[in-house]
């Protein structure tokens, strides 16, 4: 499943990386502690978080995440958005909670794998 299908299914708003939505998703990881995400997330994951500061872009690009979903209506900070555009990192936003978006993404990817 690619990122674009997730954007459509969960009605996410695309804030950056609109040209990177064909990226194949391998999984997901939910967390706000950057060390936890660094240690436990994987390449091709969608990272679900409520952190909006610019350091999330470095983490996502070091881990080669497919994209970042900001939850609960949080918007990326201006410098975050600048870095994400420059680095080609998709940032997607949703009004959903981390719990809900994680569950729905899990279901989507799970269904695809069956």
């Amino acid at each position: 499943m690619d990122l674009e299908s997730v954007v459509k299914a969960l009605n996410l708003k695309v804030r950056s990386g609109g040209d990177k939505l064909k990226t194949e998703i391998r999984g997901g990881y939910t967390g706000d502690l950057l060390s936890d995400v660094m240690a436990n997330s994987g390449e091709g994951d969608v990272w679900i978080t409520r952190q909006v500061h610019q350091n999330i872009v470095a983490v996502a690009s070091l881990k080669e995440h497919a994209g970042i979903i900001l939850v609960q209506g949080n918007e990326p900070a201006n410098d975050t958005l600048e870095k994400a555009i420059k680095g080609g990192v998709p940032i997607l936003v949703t009004e959903l909670s981390a719990f809900e978006v994680t569950g729905r993404l899990y279901e989507l990817i799970g269904k695809k794998a069956d």
Binding site: L33, S35, A39, T49, Q54, N55, V57, V59, S61
Partner: protein, 146 residues
């Protein structure tokens, strides 16, 4: 490590400046990828470099990350000028942190950094002097490299 290195360089890191945090690690990752190391080895080295960089940004005045790549291993050293660590055993405990509220709000300072570095390295050495700074030395084995 007398072998001729495939790469050798050092990267300055500014303490307290989160605007550029992660840039050195991103740079190091690109260098390792260019050398053609395996994904697994690059994944480990990028984490080790990132956590070391964040530690310098979070706790030191300034520091340096040194990278040395030889055919069978990567050496990453993080040397900083800072307050030093009074009790290394305590600092190595998962969850122990002296991070400020500001640092924690950004999702750093969860007391996982040093543990992560140790877990992702094949050799880990830490020394620190109060009022002077901290020195980390990590080796990641890269036997897959041809």
């Amino acid at each position: 490590m007398d072998e001729k290195p495939l790469y050798e360089g050092s990267f300055p890191v500014e303490g307290g400046n989160f605007d550029h945090a992660g840039e050195v690690s991103t740079n190091i990752k690109a260098i390792l990828r260019q050398i053609g190391l395996s994904k697994e080895v690059i994944r480990k080295a990028a984490l080790v470099a990132y956590e070391s960089e964040i530690n310098i940004v979070s706790y030191a005045k300034r520091g340096m990350i040194r990278l040395r790549v030889v055919p069978d291993s990567i050496l990453i050293e993080a040397v900083d000028e800072g307050q030093g660590i009074p009790d290394i055993e305590l600092a190595m405990q998962p969850g122990f942190s002296t991070a400020s509220q500001k640092i924690r709000e950004m999702g750093f300072g969860a007391g996982m950094g040093l543990c992560n570095i140790k877990n992702f390295s094949d050799v880990f050495h830490i020394s620190s002097e109060l009022g002077k700074g901290t020195h980390l030395k990590m080796v990641i084995k890269a036997k897959a490299l041809q």
